[in-house]
Symmetry: C2
């Protein structure tokens, strides 16, 4: 197919596809003439992968390039690909850096959990940043307190690792690893929010105003606004 067809099927503007080509995210099509190239279903696949990494994981275009390069590198063990992807995802919103104490605590936490990771893993830094914020809020950051989250994380991680088609052709397995790291993370995040709502509703809102109530005037629980674009001037005075 030609580029316009590729654009149609992928739902992306031609200009955007050209942009990805320029940035090296999408391999060039097979040139048919000097002004024409043939694109395949593989390109369509690739575009879906790019959009997943951009839309869901919100990775910068440059970082998507890094992940894709790892996916394409036939030499690279899947384990390393996982590492690259994790690094990309974890460091996506890297701006501030973690404190030394935070790094210390992160190491301690991982040790207490008996989670061995490679010594230079950037994940420690990301985790440390989170612990820094938690400490700032006065929340405990020891293994015992955080056990529920650790257990949940571990449980899904086990399932996800089982889920990798290690016997399949590398290209397919690589695709799964890259997408899976991102998309199942988002799934977990969304399910967590949904569960919060379900739990809180069952616990606090369920008795007073169930769904079958006729007129629960005081709209207890009813997402006030879908986060409008601007809404200045509503602050209190504070002390």
């Amino acid at each position: 197919m030609r580029i316009s067809e590729l654009a149609r099927q992928s739902g992306l503007p031609v200009a955007t596809i050209k942009f990805y080509l320029r940035e090296g995210l999408l391999p060039p099509g097979a040139p048919v003439s000097r002004t024409q190239a043939e694109y395949s279903d593989a390109h369509l696949e690739r575009l879906r992968l790019i959009r997943a990494l951009r839309d869901i994981a919100d990775l910068p275009v440059a970082t998507v390039g890094t992940v894709l390069a790892a996916v394409d590198d036939e030499e690279l063990p899947l384990l390393d690909l996982l590492g690259v992807t994790q690094t990309a995802v974890a460091g996506a919103k890297t701006s501030a850096s973690a404190s030394e104490v935070g790094v210390e605590l992160a190491g301690q936490l991982l040790a207490d959990l008996d989670w061995t990771l490679t010594t230079d893993s950037p994940l420690v830094e990301s985790l440390a940043r989170v612990l820094d914020v938690l400490r700032g809020e006065g929340e405990p950051v020891d293994a015992e307190s955080l056990r529920p989250w650790a257990d949940a994380a571990r449980a899904v991680a086990e399932v996800e690792m089982d889920h990798i088609p290690v016997e399949a052709p590398r290209a397919e397995a690589a695709h799964t690893v890259a997408v899976g790291t991102v998309i199942y993370g988002e799934l977990l995040a969304q399910l967590r929010l949904a569960a919060q709502e379900a739990v809180s509703l069952a616990r606090f809102g369920g008795e007073a105003e169930p769904v079958e109530e006729p007129a629960p005037k005081r709209s207890r629980r009813a997402h006030p606004e879908p986060a409008p674009k601007r809404s200045r001037g509503q602050q209190p005075e504070s002390a």
Copy 2:
């Protein structure tokens, strides 16, 4: 304290604090004279909250404003605050919208899980988007397949709901709800990545090259690069 002191203690530039004041994220200080205002520790707290929402959840400034307004609204039940915060977090990277089939499947999933949420919850849409991507990848999206993630999500949600200091002054509880929704989500995400690494290492890398090996030439497992800023021109040729 005056603004420069507030800047010093918070670690933020004065210009940024002024920006937040303008945007209504930070309440004005108590004016001492026409060119001077007094800021309190509450302002410091508020700045930390703002940074948590910006840095960790990556919420747009306008959305942070929405959440803060909800936090400050003494009338608003905590349950609604939770909803506002969830909406903000879930819809942060909203761009594409979910398919109808996706929404359908999301509803089915929640029903199968016995998770009752408010009918108009925007979470359904967010969840549907994730399911759309999963389906696009050929992954199953039924309750049975996704049970592990749902169980994990539910488990942490229960703990988190228990964690809200419902008896404490509303201001404090509100703060906890807003921050907690965001920060424990990030914690879970990071722990998941760490667990993935730990599991994969134990499973595939552990036997061959343990840490005590002297010279494991082929640097199996060693985060290739920390995602450099640019790296064009490494694509394959594909078909």
